[in-house]
Symmetry: C2
Subunit: 125 residues, 2 copies
């Protein structure tokens, strides 16, 4: 059976942002030792360092709102590339910040983990 | 020798946008039959269809300006994931449009081709 990569990408992304926005201490389950994260100018490797970084971000409340989500198969092995653009609502700020994020998802048994993750805020020029 | 993926990503991206902005009919050399492009809501596969789409875009003059460029190794085989955010200046418009783009670059001999390409304009919410 071929993987429906669009459905997978949507389900994974919704799960990821829901987890991020409700309890980001649990995000470590979605990364492995070989996983890499670029978060703005910081580059990290490994689930432990990645989740420490995400937990340490200086806000209490956060909400991700997806504007666009596009997926493509990344190899014949079933890994999937996802690019998301959207808005980030932080604490009690009224104005959302635009962001772009890429996930490179790797199959593992019947599930997937985040192999590559690149996150950037989009500042106006 | 391990590939310096950051240098590769920068050189490739600068070459790509320079080629796009000066003569995008030549971009087909950077794609293969298995390459995929998502351009806004259109999904295409194969160098021929991809370059036809890029050439058909309804502007005469275009300029890409890179704001952020981040790269990560995408496998032990040397493929590289690149996420770019930046501004697009089209024809004689004064206001740039924000864009996000992902390239998944595959090694081929001593060079690289674009295996996956996802492009989106970032509209304000």
């Amino acid at each position: 059976m071929s993987v429906d990569f669009n459905t997978l990408a949507q389900q994974f992304t919704e799960f990821y942002y829901n987890q991020f926005d409700t309890d980001r201490t649990q995000l470590g389950n979605l990364y492995r030792e070989q996983s890499m994260l670029t978060f703005e100018t910081t580059q990290l490797q490994g689930a432990k360092d990645i989740v420490e970084k995400l937990v340490s971000l200086p806000f209490q409340k956060v909400g991700h709102r997806i504007s666009t989500l596009d997926a493509q198969p990344a190899s014949p092995n079933g890994d999937v590339l996802v690019m998301i653009t959207g808005d980030l609502l932080i604490d009690d700020e009224q104005n959302p910040q635009r962001f772009s994020q890429v996930f490179h998802l790797m199959p593992e048994g019947s599930s997937y983990y985040v192999f590559n993750d690149i996150f950037r805020l989009n500042y106006s020029a």
